[in-house]
Symmetry: C2
Subunit: 218 residues, 2 copies
Amino acid sequence: MNAAPASAATAAVRKIRVVLADDHPVVRDGLAAILNRQPDMEVVAEAADGEEATELYERHQPDVMVLDLRMPKRDGVAVVAMVLAAHPHARLLVMTTYDGDEDIFRCLSQGAKGYLLKDSPRTEILSAIRAVSEDRPYASSSVASKALQRMAKPSLTQREIGVLQLLAEGRSNKDIARRLSITEGTAKTHVKAILTKLDAISRTEAVAVAHKRGLVRL
Amino acid sequence: MNAAPASAATAAVRKIRVVLADDHPVVRDGLAAILNRQPDMEVVAEAADGEEATELYERHQPDVMVLDLRMPKRDGVAVVAMVLAAHPHARLLVMTTYDGDEDIFRCLSQGAKGYLLKDSPRTEILSAIRAVSEDRPYASSSVASKALQRMAKPSLTQREIGVLQLLAEGRSNKDIARRLSITEGTAKTHVKAILTKLDAISRTEAVAVAHKRGLVRL
DNA sequence: AGGCTCCTCTCTCAAAAGGGGTAGACCCGA
DNA sequence: TCGGGTCTACCCCTTTTGAGAGAGGAGCCT
C-alpha cells in the first residue's frame, strides 16, 4: 500500500481522499454531496458507526477522515485513539452537533487535527478539510475561545466525573456512596469539590453547568 | 395559484414539491440529495431558519414542507402554528435530532402530519414524505409508543413548566420564588407537584427526567 | 526523600429541601 | 351553579444538603 502523499500546495492533480463517518444517513449524504462537488476532493468511503470508521480507515488510508463525535458502537474519542495508535500521522477532523461538548477537547488533545460544528456553512467545512489535509490544525472560532476559557478553569478528577454522572442522574449523596462503595461523607467531599470547581451553589446548578459544558451524558 | 393536487396513487407525472427547512447546511444538502434522486420528488426551496421557512412556504406553496424542530429565529412549533393558520391543509413533516423531544407532541397536536428522527434511514425519510404528501399521517415507530406512554403520565401545568425551567438552571426554592414573585412556600408547592408528576425523589432527579423528556432547554 | 494530587474518612452546624396535610381565590366548562 | 383544575399560601416535621476544617494513606514525579 502506498503510504503518505503529503505533498501540499500542489492541488488539482491529486484529489484529497476523504472517508466520512457519521451515523446519520442524511449528514453523510450532505457531506458527500458537498465534497464531491469540489474538484479537489473525493469521498472514498462512508461509515455509519465507530467500528466501521476504524475499518474503513484501515482499508482506504484516506488523506482525511471526517468523523462524528457521537456514534454507535465506538464514539469519536475512541476512534481517534485507535486510528492514531496505528497511524500516528492520520489526519482526523472531528465534527459535533453540540457547541461546547467537552469531549472535543479529549479528541484534540489525543491528536485530532481539527474540529467542526455540524451547523457550519459549507465553505467552513471545506476549508477545514483542506487545512487538515495539509496537516494544518483547524478549529472553528468558537472553540478556540472556549479552549482558553477552559484552561483557566480547574478540571475535575476521574472520581469527580464519576460522582458528577450520578449527580446528574439525580442520585442522593447516600445513593452515590452506595453505588461507589464509599461512605456518604466521602461522597459529600467529592460533591463539595465538584460544586467548588464548577462554581455552583447547589448540586442542581452543578448539573446544569455540567450539561452546558457537555461533561455528562443524558 | 393552483391549490391542492391531492390525487394520490397517480405518481410519476406530477412530482411532489418539497420545501426544506433546517439550519444545518449539511442536513439541507443531504436531504436535497436524497430527494432529488427520486423520480417523484423535487426540492423547490430551502430555508435556513424559521422565518425563511414561513416565507418560502407562502411563496412556493409546496406539497410538503420538511422542517427541523429547532431552528433560529422561529422554532418548528411556531412555524407549524403560523403555516397552518394560513393554510389549514398544509402538509408538514417535522424532523428532530432528539428522540423524546417533548415539542414534537406540540407540533403533532397542532396539526403537523408527520414526525421523523434525523438519524432515520433514507428509505424511512422517503416513505414519510410520500405518506405526508398524500395527507396520511406518519410517525416513526419510536414516537408512536412514546405517545402512548405520554398519555398515561400526568402533564405539567404552565406554571410548573416555568418552575421546572428555573429548577433546571439550578435555582433554589427561594430564588425561584423571588423570580416569579411568589412566596417560597408556593414555590415549594409547585416543586412538590413537579416531583410527584415526574415521579422523581429529588429536584435533581426531576431535572434529569425533564432533560430526558425534552421538557426543558439547556 | 519530599512534595504533590487524589481518594478516603471524620466531625460539627446551619440551611435547604422534601413529605404530609389544609385551604382560599380564581376561572372554565359541564 | 356546581365541580374540577390551577395557583396561591400556610402549617409541622424529617431528611438531605452544603460549608468548614481536619487528617491519614496511596501513588506519582522530581
